[in-house]
């Protein structure tokens, strides 16, 4: 510790600290800084008393003002719910078709339906209902279980092949695995289904007879499908278990379709969908139905 002395150049005092002959000028903090510091200290004491601050073993000191950001959030959520209830009550009280007919309700239901769809449905069906391998595209006009708005609402409510007693149930027989058809017959029927898909069935093919005997009962005489038992239409280029865009070269696409038909006839895969009435309210489900119905393919 060197003695405190006055620096002749600046006229200031030194602090008395010295390192290797270098001494430090005493430059005190500005007065305004000190004032702000002490005001902050006083402020923080007031804050301890008024606001929640100190952690305790099982909780915290709530403060005299009783402020809580959680309570704020809850009241804001309640406010939002009350604002939405006005719309949801109207939507719940009307049949889905009437909701669609009212342009105000339609706009609200499509906006609300889109949010609910992206949270609940998009993981499988894709944003905008684009679909994925094994998950139907909802924007096109092919519907496994019916494409009217009431049918769509029914499917959303109770789902497909789940434990809900009202869910859609149906299974395609394992023609190959159970030995109903031989592998050769399955290949023949697959060749025939390709012509059905092109809407130019060739009756002279050996698969035509096998189709009429085994497949037509569910998929229809000309492969038009049956929405009551979820039997897909085969007379179009929309395939559940093939790549969605169908952007391959024609012969590659044909080979993919043929392979998927053979696989499906031999040991069918069956999609499942939850019963959303077990998780979502009736208003949300109606909005979802309106949204899906107006994605473009609704009947």
């Amino acid at each position: 510790m060197a003695p405190v002395e006055k620096d002749p150049v600046t006229g200031r005092y030194t602090t008395g600290h010295e390192w290797d002959g270098i001494r430090e000028l005493n430059t005190p903090l500005p007065r305004w800084w000190i004032i702000v510091f002490w005001v902050s200290v006083v402020w923080s004491i007031g804050y301890w008393v008024l606001m929640p601050s100190w952690p305790l073993l099982n909780g915290f000191t709530p403060g005299l003002l009783g402020y809580s950001s959680r309570a704020d959030l809850e009241s804001e959520i309640a406010e939002q719910k009350a604002a939405r209830a006005v719309w949801l009550n109207r939507i719940e009280s009307l049949p889905a078709a009437a909701v669609e007919a009212d342009s105000e309700l339609l706009t609200y239901a499509r906006a609300g339906g889109r949010i609910a769809f992206e949270e609940n449905c998009a993981p499988c069906h894709g944003v905008g209902g684009v679909g994925a391998f094994g998950y139907p595209t909802l924007a096109d006009d092919e519907w496994l279980w019916g494409g009217t708005i009431d049918e769509i609402e029914q499917t959303i409510k109770f789902g497909v092949r789940n434990s809900n007693p009202n869910s859609h149930q149906s299974e395609m027989p394992k023609f190959g695995a159970d030995g109903i058809l031989t592998p050769q017959q399955i290949e023949q029927v697959a060749d025939y289904v390709l012509t059905v898909a092109d809407r130019a069935p060739v009756a002279s093919l050996p698969g035509a007879e096998i189709f009429a005997e085994n497949c037509a009962v569910c998929h229809g005489e000309v492969g038009e499908g049956n929405k009551d038992i979820g039997a897909p239409a085969l007379n179009n280029q929309i395939w559940l278990y093939a790549s969605k865009l169908g952007n391959q070269k024609p012969e590659v696409r044909a080979a993919e379709i043929r392979a998927t038909v053979i696989s499906q006839v031999t040991r069918p895969r069956h999609g499942a969908m939850p019963a959303w009435s077990e998780r979502l309210g009736p208003g949300t489900i109606r909005m979802l139905a309106v949204y899906v119905h107006t994605l473009g393919g609704g009947r």
Partner: protein, 468 residues
């Protein structure tokens, strides 16, 4: 604490207490004040009839309603480029005026200048002129000083508050908003804005003053770059004034300059500079030193114009004994003028060509196209129609550029109804038979036709098909 010369890099600022003065430039400054201040305070009260349902305030920025109104013009948020245009024009006008006449903006028109001037006038009224104010600053605190200073600050705060309120009035219906503000019925946001604007008015015009021009303002820094030797600036005629020196009545001016070193030019300067050191950053071009010097020259019996509002070229000409010729038309002013005319032209043209209907097409992205069961391809679009008219309108929508397509609109139509002064949003599906758009992107156009007046609006978009 006193510090020896050169020991600190920090220059302690001295409060500038400028002396009052009379003369041409002082009158111009007063004129600017009595025109600008009432305009600033009263402009929100001007009315403009826009028909029923629309606000009738001539100048209004309606944040809640997302509209800005300026007389007959109604700006939507997406047209904010008009604001850019106004700023561009303002900048070029500033360049041109600086090149021609020097810092007219700084000296006479700037908020900072006008409000500082007003605040100084209040000090002068309640305390006195420069010497009285300096004396009061030095005087110990007593009741008189407290009363005078208190009154000054009270008036300053009132004026600053009124400045904040006037600012807020541009954002609401002034005649109803003013009483609401004064009776405490306005929102916290409004009072916050008033406090910020008013607080800064009090701080900048009351305390910071010339520091704003010297250290904060970017314009004062770059305006000198617009000057050339023909720009009119406030300048000291050194050829005539030097060698300066004190003068007593009866002494001759033979063999010396006309500057009597009286210090009036420094005392009256609102930024506290000495103009005899030449053109400088701190000179805001207000010309008060000219008024001060002219009055002094009259008393001494010498011709006026030792400090002049003139160009460097004229000054040099006079020094050589020639008659100065002032040049307004110069390459610099021609270029600034041309840029100004061009930007005014662009803004004017866009205002004339501004339509009351606009249509934007958003092609659906979540799925570019959908293959339907019959093989046809469907594209989805969101069609947004901006109806900038204050009445409901009904439109027909057609597609051009792609033959044999079907169009359907969710919710029905066309016709499409768009409510008054709003944006209508429609989901539109366009379906083309298989093969039409295979392997390519076809451009197509939506044509919107007002069923009442038949006016058409077009918007281009794409129809996307599969690669194969």
């Amino acid at each position: 604490m006193t510090e020896p010369e050169g020991s600190s890099l920090y220059a302690r600022s001295e409060t500038v207490q400028s002396r009052s003065v009379r003369g041409r430039f002082r009158s111009w400054k007063f004129l600017a004040m009595v025109v600008l201040l009432p305009w600033w305070y009263l402009a929100p009260f001007l009315r403009w009839n826009r028909g029923p349902g629309a606000p009738d305030q001539a100048i209004l920025i309606d944040m809640g309603g997302r509209r800005a109104y300026f007389l007959g013009l109604e700006i939507w948020p997406q047209e904010v480029y008009y604001l850019t245009g106004i700023l561009v024009v303002a900048a070029i006008v500033l360049f041109l005026v600086s090149a021609l006449y020097g810092r007219v903006w700084c000296g006479f028109l700037c908020w900072q200048t006008v409000y500082t001037d007003l605040f100084v006038q209040i000090e002068r009224m309640l305390i006195g002129d420069r010497t009285r104010r300096l004396a009061l600053d030095r005087a110990p605190w007593n009741l008189d000083k407290l009363a005078r200073k208190g009154a000054v600050h009270l008036l300053w705060m009132l004026i600053a508050g009124s400045c904040g309120i006037a600012f807020a009035l541009y954002f609401g219906n002034a005649p109803t908003m003013l009483p609401a503000i004064l009776t405490g019925r306005e929102s916290v946001a409004i009072y916050g804005a008033i406090a910020v604007v008013g607080g800064f008015c009090y701080l900048l015009a009351g305390f910071a003053r010339e520091q704003v021009c010297l250290y904060m303002c970017p314009y004062s820094r770059f305006q000198a770059a617009m000057f050339d030797e023909h720009s009119l600036i406030v300048g000291y005629e050194a050829w005539r004034g030097e060698r300066r020196g004190r003068w007593r009545k009866g002494q001759t001016f033979e063999g010396r300059g006309h500057c009597i070193d009286c210090g009036v030019c420094v005392a009256v300067c609102p930024t506290g500079i000495d103009i005899r050191n030449g053109s400088q950053l701190g000179c805001i071009g207000c010309g008060l030193c000219i008024d001060g010097c002219d009055a002094m020259m009259d008393r001494v019996g010498l011709p006026r114009g030792l400090i002049t509002w003139d160009s460097i070229a004229s000054q040099a000409a006079r020094a050589r004994g020639e008659t100065p010729r002032h040049r307004l038309v110069r390459p610099r002013t021609l270029v600034y003028g041309a840029i100004l005319a061009l930007s005014l032209g662009v803004i004017g043209w866009s205002l004339i060509a501004r339509t009351t209907t606009e249509m934007t097409i958003l092609h659906e992205r979540a799925l570019l196209y959908v293959r339907l069961s019959d093989g046809s391809i469907r594209n989805g679009y969101v069609v947004k129609v901006q109806n900038k008219v204050r009445s409901e309108r009904i439109f027909d929508l057609q597609i051009e550029g792609l033959e044999g397509v079907r169009m359907s609109v969710i919710g029905g139509g066309p016709p499409l109804k768009v409510a008054s002064d709003s944006v209508g949003s429609f989901t539109v599906f366009v379906t083309a038979a298989a093969g039409i758009a295979t392997g390519r992107r076809v451009s197509l156009a939506f044509v919107l036709r007002d069923l009442k007046d038949g006016s058409e609006t077009r918007a281009e978009s794409l129809f996307v098909g599969p690669d194969r």
